[in-house]
């Protein structure tokens, strides 16, 4: 895997914490992000995110475990949801990751996914 920039790494850590049902220790975060990330790199990123108030930490045994902050998301959610619901025009200025599928697309995509998974990564 290629080298990640600082911003990219922060995003990946936030994504991992947000996806996790339970708080994660730095070691767990590192394991999940894979690659050859140094433990200290993960620690630095977590410290920075904590400073920005994007993650909180709690002591679990000897280590700290981190959680993505949710409270701010309430306001965010409403604001963003409003953007999405505002109709075609507003949604058109957002770069959606994937478009809407038709029935034919769905079948086609299922077949393609099998091909993508088949060859291994």
């Amino acid at each position: 895997m290629g080298r990640r920039s600082r911003g990219t790494l922060e995003q990946e850590v936030v994504a991992a914490l947000a996806a996790s049902p339970a708080p994660m220790t730095p070691a767990q975060v590192r394991d999940q992000l894979g690659g050859r990330l140094a433990y200290t790199t993960v620690m630095t990123v977590l410290a920075r995110l904590s400073e920005k108030g994007l993650v909180t930490r709690e002591r679990v045994g000897r280590a700290y475990a981190y959680t993505a902050v949710r409270d701010e998301a309430e306001v965010t959610a409403r604001q963003m949801q409003r953007l999405l619901d505002a109709g075609d025009d507003r949604a058109a200025v957002l770069s959606r990751f994937v478009g809407v599928l038709s029935d034919d697309d769905e079948q086609l995509l299922t077949d393609l996914l099998r091909r993508a998974e088949g060859g291994g990564t």
Binding site: M1, E12, A15, A19, L33, M80, G87, R90, V100, L109
Partner: protein, 314 residues
């Protein structure tokens, strides 16, 4: 000589139509970044040429208005006699020119206002370029406009993807921000607002910017299949989710085609489609220039005629 203006107009019109017809197809044969960078300026040039030709031909009509001909010092009667077009054509062109400019201006201001409104509402959220997690189970992901936009992903989607897949998703959205893809799209839409035959070009650009971000993501994670898988899985997850109030805009491009392209080796630059597009552009510009020059000559001629007419005979 005045017949040249009619020929030039026909040639320019044919070239514009030809570009609208084959441009999108040619662009799909090029690497997506090249395709976008070529197709968008090209459609602006073509839209500009359209307006230019319409104005040049339309002016033959406008120039016959007494106020205008007096100001320009040419003879309206002479002009009417010399024009290579039946009256309806300059009239139609003049009206179309006004329509094209008005449409582009309205569409442009409306879209700009939207972009600014969206950016305004994102200002307070996170920092520029950061990931914003939406506390929502419905899978979805998008980037807000501008190089300082935010990457927004729902918790539902983050949970459904593996760490590698999340990385591919983030790399894709980061590419949209880094390359300012909304602006490319906006430019293409403006061109199509001025000349509606360019609508398929906008659809092509919508697709090429998505492919551009896909290729960037593939390079970032050094795994094309991973990006293909992430795309396919996300699209199927969104499809399977209970339908909410989701807008059905066809942004995001043609997903199966994007996945298929990622399962193939990376596209290489090809000379022929590139050359064809460039030749088309140059030819359109030359034809447009000819129309304008002949139009000017027509006015000059009508002007000389008036002067000759008024000159006292010795």
């Amino acid at each position: 000589m005045t017949g040249d203006m009619a020929v030039g107009t026909l040639v320019a019109g044919a070239l514009i139509a030809l570009f609208a017809l084959i441009g999108p197809g040619l662009a799909r044969r090029l690497p997506p970044a090249v395709a976008t960078r070529l197709l968008v300026p090209a459609s602006l040039v073509v839209a500009g040429s359209t307006v230019w030709v319409l104005v040049a031909v339309g002016f033959i009509w406008v120039a016959q208005f007494p106020a205008v001909s007096r100001y320009g010092q040419w003879s309206a009667a002479e002009l009417r006699a010399d024009t290579p077009f039946p009256t309806a054509i300059p009239v139609g062109c003049g009206l179309l020119a006004v329509l094209a400019v008005t449409r582009a201006a309205t569409r442009g201001t409306r879209r700009m206002r939207l972009l600014l409104a969206v950016r305004q509402s994102c200002r307070g959220i996170g920092e520029p370029g950061s990931l914003v997690v939406l506390d929502n189970d419905r899978p979805d992901a998008f980037a807000t406009p501008g190089a300082d936009g935010r990457i927004v992903v729902t918790r539902g989607l983050l949970r459904a993807l593996s760490a590698d897949e999340r990385r591919a998703l983030l790399a894709h959205e980061a590419a949209h921000l880094a390359h300012r893809h909304v602006w490319w799209l906006l430019a293409a839409e403006l061109a199509a607002a001025a000349n509606p035959v360019l609508a398929p070009t906008v659809r092509a650009v919508t697709h090429t910017v998505e492919r551009w971000a896909d290729e960037d993501a593939a390079r970032a994670v050094t795994d094309r299949r991973l990006v293909a898988r992430t795309l396919a899985r996300t699209a199927l997850l969104i499809r399977a989710a209970p339908a909410g109030r989701v807008s059905l805009t066809a942004v995001g491009g043609d997903v199966p085609e994007r996945v298929r392209a990622l399962l193939e080796p990376p596209p290489r630059p090809r000379v022929i489609p590139l050359a064809v597009l460039v030749v088309l552009l140059v030819a359109t510009t030359v034809a447009t220039g000819t129309v304008q020059r002949r139009g000017d000559q027509l006015l000059d001629q009508a002007g000389t005629a008036t002067v000759a007419h008024h000159r006292p005979v010795r």
